[in-house]
């Protein structure tokens, strides 16, 4: 089985390196095909491993030593167990799809080869992240995906906004990574190992405050990757990258790494329910917070990004409440339909020549039937309507919140579900229905390549049927995760809640259709709605980016300038130069003492003598006085 593990892990790396070989040369279809093929290989291996794991085995290998010094021992160790195999499947499926899709999407791009190199490298990092058997290995993947995300967001590096977003994403992630590192340090110094099995076995023996700190720091780490408030701003800006990237990284895989971490570290969080509650609360807050921003946004990809954020909030609610398997399940389901949504958006963008404002589209269903269907179904899944994947996973989270008696969280999540439905279908309505507003801009949209649509099909299928895996999934992961069944025992309540939710959601969908399906004009910022405070607040993302700019970026820039110009040059360096100058100037001023005149030279000698004599007499007088007193 180890061979499959290595294939699953390293096939993407090989693909990446292969593509990198052609990095500087013009587009070669070969790179795309090879990279995709290798990913498919990885997918197959993962599937074989899944099968193996489902039979009740796990694979644990230690490839070689990475860092060993003192008591520290960190190997390259990989584990395929019930949790990681699920993640592997998600990652490989989505990335295979995205790879194939990208062959079409990036068709005309100069950086075609480079793109595949980055994309495969990302997959490799993600695989390292999920397969690692220790926290340090996880951190390798963690940083690796960050790096690839930076590369891919800034893929179109000539765009100022893209590179800016890339840097923002990287730096914000770094803030969280620091916390993660600290978490790792705490673990090491208290347990003496970073291996999951050792750590989770020993964690219960630690004093409570230390476990709490570990939980907090690891979660802060997760917050960065999963773009939780207040480190969320990068995610929306990251949409500057090519759309497949958004689909793969910023929807399906990387951003869920935080959730994966919490799920993986469940033995830790099980011991600290208070932190768990905080995580859940934050998740709920982010869910509604992000959904609210999605309501008014006029950027197709950003809307989807906010929805991702919102869904990540859901996952954290589940994870925080101890429903780890639910969180992971939603992660999986979400990965499928959200990637689908993004890829659909990519098609639209292509058709619209990179136009992102849905208000400038409309009526696209005629020209882009396939995309229309896919995106609509993905939105349905996202909205959580039966029997699509979203229903099973999202409803479970609501149930879990309900069962655990966190009614406020429940209420928030419920309301958010409505919002989700609303903004999803607002988007669908604006893009595909109503008047063909794009004509105003002289665009001639066309459907994407057929193979791209075919490539998306697996996702579509999964988005539809993923819910049906629930049982077998449950059996699988509860080998490792706490097997808590979240069932509302009172059947009446259960049905009321379920049906109520469904109705609420459908209502929201209808509302969205009613309002936007027949939209006819492109808003120009003059309407009353657009000028009301709430709208502005939401469309400006609660002014948070601005706040960060004013509160952190600008002062930092200013402070840096001061540190350089004022402190470093004018104080620190000037002191050193000042001392040197002082010495030199003393020389300049006093060397005139040597004026070459013999008279003054003689006078200096006499002065020297007189000074000596003065000292002599003074000493004598003092000496005599002392000896007199002594007598």
């Amino acid at each position: 089985m180890e061979i499959y593990l290595y294939i699953a892990l390293f096939a993407p790396l090989v693909g990446s390196l292969f593509a990198a070989l052609f990095g500087a040369t013009p587009k070669t279809m070969l790179t795309g095909i090879v990279a995709s093929g290798l990913l498919f290989l990885s997918l197959v291996s993962s599937a074989i491993l899944l099968n193996y794991v489902m039979m009740g085995h796990t694979v644990h290998v230690e490839m070689m030593t990475w860092i060993a010094t003192g008591d520290l021992y960190i190997p390259y160790g990989f584990v395929v167990d019930q949790v990681s195999v699920v993640m592997m499947m998600v990652v490989t499926i989505v990335s295979t799809v995205v790879h194939v899709y990208s062959i079409g999407y990036m068709d005309h791009d100069k950086g075609f080869n480079r793109f595949f190199s980055y994309l495969s490298a990302f997959v490799f990092s993600m695989m390292v992240l999920v397969m690692s058997d220790n926290f340090a290995g996880l951190f390798i993947g963690w940083e690796g995906v960050g790096l690839c995300s930076w590369l891919l967001i800034g893929f179109w590096y000539h765009k100022e906004s893209a590179t800016w977003a890339a840097n923002e994403a990287f730096i914000m992630n770094r803030i969280a990574d620091l916390a993660m590192l600290i978490g790792i340090f705490i673990i090491y110094w208290n347990i003496g190992s970073l291996q999951y099995d050792v750590v989770f076995a020993e964690i219960a023996n630690l004093p409570m405050p230390i476990i709490t700190w570990i939980g907090i720091f690891l979660f802060i780490g997760a917050m960065g990757k999963s773009a939780q408030f207040p480190l969320h701003t990068w995610l929306a800006d990251a949409m500057e990258g090519p759309t497949p990237v958004s689909a793969l990284i910023h929807a399906a895989t990387m951003v869920t790494a935080g959730v994966y971490l919490v799920v993986r570290a469940n033995p830790v969080y099980d011991l600290i329910p208070d932190v768990g509650l905080f995580i859940a609360s934050l998740g709920a807050f982010v869910a509604i917070f992000a959904a609210s921003m999605a309501l008014v946004n006029r950027d197709m990809k950003r809307i989807i990004a906010y929805s991702t954020l919102s869904q990540l909030g859901y996952m954290f609610v589940a994870a925080g409440l101890g429903a780890y398997w639910v969180a992971l399940f939603h992660l999986m389901a979400h990965a499928f339909f959200k990637a689908l949504l993004f890829l659909g958006a990519g098609n639209v963008m292509h058709a619209m020549h990179n136009e992102l404002d849905p208000f400038k589209m409309g009526g696209l269903r005629k020209v882009m039937k396939g995309t229309f269907i896919m995106m609509t179904l993905a939105s349905v899944a996202l909205a959580g309507i039966y029997p699509f994947a979203g229903f099973f996973s999202k409803d479970l989270i609501l149930e879990a919140a309900f069962v655990e008696n966190h009614y406020i969280i429940y209420a928030v999540l419920l309301f958010t579900a409505g919002l989700t439905a609303f903004y999803s279908f607002r988007l669908v309505a604006l893009i595909f229905h109503g008047e063909e507003r794009y004509k105003l801009f002289g665009i001639h949209p066309h459907e994407a390549y057929k193979f791209m649509l075919v490539a998306m099909a697996p996702l579509l299928i999964l988005a539809i049927i993923a819910g049906s895996f629930k049982l077998s999934y449950f059996e699988l992961v509860t080998n490792l995760l706490p097997a808590v069944e979240y069932h509302i025992h009172h059947p009446m309540t259960y049905w009321m809640i379920t049906i109520g939710t469904q109705l609420f959601v459908i209502l929201a969908v209808l509302l969205a259709y009613k309002k936007y399906a027949s939209w006819s004009s492109v808003p120009d910022g003059t309407s009353k709605l657009e000028n009301c405070f709430c709208y502005k607040l939401l469309s400006n993302q609660y002014y948070i980016p601005k706040l960060y700019e004013e509160l952190f970026s600008k002062p930092y820039r200013e402070l840096s300038r001061i540190a350089w110009k004022q402190i470093d040059l004018k104080i620190v360096d000037a002191t050193v130069d000042g001392i040197a100058n002082l010495i030199y100037q003393t020389g300049e001023k006093t060397h005139t003492m040597q004026n070459g005149n013999l008279s003054s030279m003689l006078r200096w000698m006499v002065i020297g003598l007189v000074v000596l004599l003065v000292l002599a007499v003074a000493f004598t007088v003092g000496y005599n006085a002392v000896t007199m007193r002594a007598m």
Binding site: Q594, N595, G596, N597, L598, S599, L602, V606
Partner: protein, 101 residues
């Protein structure tokens, strides 16, 4: 009133100080050399006096050698002055400032 060694030493000191003033004050090199002679002579008085009061000849020896030294110095000093005078036509030390700093 007896004249003690201290009297002589004080006299010696005072004469030495006069010599010092001369050394500092004179700008004419020849006259400056006069002042250096005063310094040595002042010392000689002291040596002779100590020698007398301690009943020891060493002081006189020292004075004797000082006189010899003074004489030699005059020879060399005048030689230097002569070349300097030949070159510049002056023996004023204020013009001797080509090197400074």
């Amino acid at each position: 009133m007896e004249i003690t060694l201290a009297h002589y030493l004080v006299l010696s000191g005072v004469l030495f100080a006069i010599g010092l003033i001369g050394v500092m004050r004179r700008k004419n090199l020849l006259m400056l050399f006069f002042a250096t002679e005063i310094l040595l002579n002042a010392t000689n008085i002291g040596f002779a006096a100590i020698s007398h009061y301690y009943n020891d000849l060493t002081g006189q020896m020292f004075a004797f050698f000082i006189i010899a030294i003074a004489a030699s110095e005059v020879a060399v000093g005048l030689g230097l002055l002569i070349v300097w005078y030949k070159r510049t036509g002056k023996i004023d030390l204020d013009i001797m400032t080509s090197m400074r700093g």
